[in-house]
Amino acid sequence: MGVQLNEVSLSYPGTGLVIDRLSARIEDGEFIAVLGASGCGKSSLLNLIAGLLAPTEGWLDVPDDGAAFMFQDSNLLPWLSAGRNVELALKLAGHPKDTRQARVDQLLELVQLGHAVHKKPHELSGGMRQRVALARALAQDRQVLLMDEPFAALDAITRDLLHEELRSLWEQTGKTIIFVTHNVREAIRLSGRILVLSSHPGRILETRRITEDLRRNPAQSAALADELTTILRKEQRKHERTDAN
């Protein structure tokens, strides 16, 4: 039950073509990182997979029960406390009432927010909101998990902690995880495969498999990080040149 994209294109009325005949096959249980310049279409791609946007052309195949999605902005419901926001996801996923509170507490503990269950979103800091959103995405408990820059607003320490949690969750549950990040190192550290998107329009520029060996080897990781950064930089340069024309 992976995800398959076949010659998928997407254009917005004002913007034009954003994703151009993109094809990809993501196996069941894969952990995929998506890299790309700001505005290249990463969030749009996740929206397509989540079924929130329909492709202008092409087709895609996702599991019947959809995908859990952690949005780029935390998108918490402002009238619900942190705990209730997470609980809503559990409720809509069909969890019985009596087990929900315990699960909410557990999930918020996981993201280091056990003390903030009763806080409303406007009483939380930016990073805390993002963590509540993360807890909510985990509460959905779907086979496919889409995450849009899940750790962008977090400090290094909390981020490290959550990296570990996410890895072990993936190992235990065998979920298919697709996450967008701007942090090349983060991508190498977490994922099994990295997709690099080009911009204007978005296509797959590069695909890299990350083996356990490579991950464990600091020198090799650093080399790959440099390489990916160079690819991204080259892509950006190309655009500056085309823009100047």
């Binding site: 995908a67 009238w79 409303k120 959905q140």
Partner: protein, 285 residues
Amino acid sequence: MSALTQTRAAAALRPAAVLRRRGRADAVIAPLITLVVLVSLWQIAAWASPLREDLFPGPAAVAAKLPELLADGTLLSAVGTSLFRALSGFAIAVLVATPAALLLAHLPLLRKGLGPLVSAMQVLPSIAWVPAAIILFGLSDATIYTVLLLGAIPSIINGLLSGIDMIPAQYSALSRVLGASRRQHIVHVELPAALPGYVAGLRQGWAFAWRSLMAAELIAVGGSLALGVGSLLQRGRDLADLPLVMLVILVILLVGVLIELLCFAPLERKLLRDRGMTRTGENHG
């Protein structure tokens, strides 16, 4: 660097319980002061005005009318009757209008077809319904409720619709992602998100309900239908009894102020506070 900066900062939003408590006291005292000021102005105007006293009765003349109306219980029972009709009618209107608005919001074609009609029905004066209601229901409370409901329902529908329209698209996306059924989306996301706009619509709906009721109560001034405030107002006009007219106006205003202070204002304040907003316009400078 200057002291000015500090005063600016001190005037900023201070998240302290003290302020909130002072605010509560103000909410009672300020309307009272307004009342005293308005009554004084009125008395002064009545003294200074060159108009005959029966054309511009002062507060004293109006107050003099009060014991008489209180003595025979007319006023209290009229207020009681009207208030009961208005509140129960309003409750029914809310119960009818809410699902209707949801239907319109979720069936685009229905909305395109009926939406303009609903807005148009809002502008139809209540008395327009009276002949039809009488033919259908005769001189019964049903007639009065019909006129009231036809006045209030379109307004509440429109209030809720515009509340729903203003819901950020991201909440709908969230609902989809969480796998909410349509019913769940409505209950857990759409209604709470639209609530502030909805309450604004309810306040207008209440005004429409009350005004339509006044119009409906002109149908019959007693007899088989209980006497309401609207009938009393008309009676004042019929008998060229301006003190009575004024008294009824004051009573209606009083009821309006009380409903606002006891229901809508606290409701709205709670809703906004829940969402981290304030109501009193203290948010800037």
